[in-house]
């Protein structure tokens, strides 16, 4: 039965098609993932992949992968990336250009902001069902916290806590302001 199972397993999935995007914001960009649910052979490989497109100056909100390292290769344009470790220290804050690779270790928090030409990348994740956690936006950890926990934790008013939770819904953010400061490495 091998020819009916392994040999005939689907091993290809196109991630570039804009129409299959999992996250899409017409002003900011899109994000597509392929994991063992959409391509079952990845369960054997214990790997998954993602394709991201950020338009000019757009931001992908801060996030971390709970169960995977992420190896990012920029296919077009450039992006400022900030990567933060468990000590709250930026272990990377700089531009990543086309053709460059950045490794984001599991649990490290990362934020991306595209440059003037936008940014496209492909990411390989070391888990067949890599799980992303965002820090801002509709599905974020901050949004899941009670407002009073936020107010107490950050020493802000409940009104500020409410703004912090609900001001932004998106994962991909349009930024009209562009980048005012360049990263440092």
């Amino acid at each position: 039965g091998i020819e009916e199972t392994i040999c005939s397993a689907k091993i290809r999935e196109n991630l570039d098609k804009a129409s299959r995007a999992d996250i899409y914001n017409p002003r900011a960009g899109r994000f597509s993932t392929v994991n063992s649910y959409s391509l079952p052979i990845l369960k054997f490989l214990q790997l998954s992949a993602a394709r991201g497109v950020l338009y000019r100056n757009a931001i992908m909100s801060p996030h971390w992968y709970a169960n995977a390292h992420s190896i990012i290769y920029v296919t077009r344009g450039d992006s400022r990336m900030q990567i933060v470790n468990h000590k709250g220290r930026a272990v990377f804050d700089g531009q990543v250009r086309e053709g460059q690779v950045v490794v984001v270790p599991q649990n490290y928090a990362v934020v991306k902001q595209a440059g003037e030409q936008g940014c496209e990348w492909v990411a390989f994740n070391t888990n067949d069902n890599a799980m992303i956690n965002t820090l801002s936006g509709r599905t974020s950890a901050i949004r899941g916290l009670p407002a009073d926990v936020i107010a107490s934790a950050y020493q802000i008013s409940r009104e500020e806590a409410e703004r912090l939770k609900f001001s932004r819904r998106e994962t991909f953010l349009f930024s009209g302001s562009g980048r005012s400061s360049r990263g440092r490495v």
């Binding site: 709970a66 599991q106 934020v111 956690n133 599905t139 009670p146 009073d148």
Partner: protein, 258 residues
């Protein structure tokens, strides 16, 4: 040290080797570099949280099991993508304008209650918090399974705080000489927002830069366990006994209403 190589000739009963104090309690750590813990691939610590003390939101690089040694509290686990199913109710028609302006509507993810004897399981990378709403100290014994397959980093336990300034205002108290090394490392810690620039934070949260700066907690000297002076206000169901009691008063079981 290779996983599975547990060449231990002698096993000792272990006491905590150092502690970190914070505004609302302290956390005591066993030395994870110890041979036995390295062999088992785990690390262990104990939070002692005072009344109205809040363990700031944090996630770890490994799955965690918590046992409630003493006291009671509430906790929240933030799983990305899960809905905020605990919501304030709609304001009633009778509510005055003044009440309405005072009232605050919120919604957040599910909250759990824990008391002595409970085990709480927390997946790797899932942010969580805990609060002591009881009348006595809340003591939590916490096991990190650092060698679990879910952890793809090395076997060192790592805590990623989402708030506060875990390195500030903390006085490490080495019980043994080698414990102080870890305490000094803790002094350098900050929350993960500190690694991002203020302008980016303001942009992604849609707030002003002053609020964004507060996220970084630079001047916060309370540590990782903070005191909520007025008590924490969250949305949660009443305790079972209280719920039944109220329902009876309201006639749910009294046959007054259909």
């Amino acid at each position: 040290w290779q996983k599975g190589e547990c060449q231990i000739g002698n096993i000792n009963a272990q006491e905590p080797s150092y502690s970190i104090r914070a505004e609302a309690g302290e956390t005591q750590f066993w030395d994870f570099k110890n041979d036995e813990f390295q062999c088992a691939g785990v690390s262990i610590l104990r939070h002692r949280i005072q009344q109205r003390g809040l363990l700031l939101p944090v996630y770890h690089n490994s799955p965690v099991l918590v046992y409630v040694l003493k006291g009671r509290g509430i906790f929240g686990l933030m799983i990305s993508g899960c809905p905020e199913t605990y919501e304030s109710s709609q304001q009633s028609r009778e509510q005055s304008q003044e009440d309405r302006s005072r009232s605050f509507r919120d919604r957040h993810q599910k909250i759990g209650e824990s008391r002595q004897g409970d085990i709480v399981a927390i997946p790797a990378g899932a942010a969580h918090w805990a609060y002591n709403d009881g009348q006595e100290e809340l003591v939590l014994l916490v096991l990190h399974d650092d060698s679990n397959n879910a952890n793809q980093l090395d076997q060192n336990p790592r805590s990623f705080y989402l708030a506060g300034n875990p390195g500030r205002g903390q006085e490490q108290q080495p019980y043994r000489e080698h414990g102080s090394r870890h305490g000094e490392q803790q002094q350098q810690f900050g929350n993960i927002f500190r690694g991002f620039d203020v302008e980016t934070l303001a942009e992604v949260f849609g707030v002003d830069e002053e609020t964004a700066r507060k996220l970084q907690g630079h001047n916060d000297e309370r540590g990782h366990l903070i005191l909520v002076q007025r008590g924490l206000q969250v949305i949660r169901p009443p305790l079972r006994g209280e719920e039944y009691g109220r329902r009876e008063e309201e006639g749910y079981y009294g046959g007054r209403d259909n």
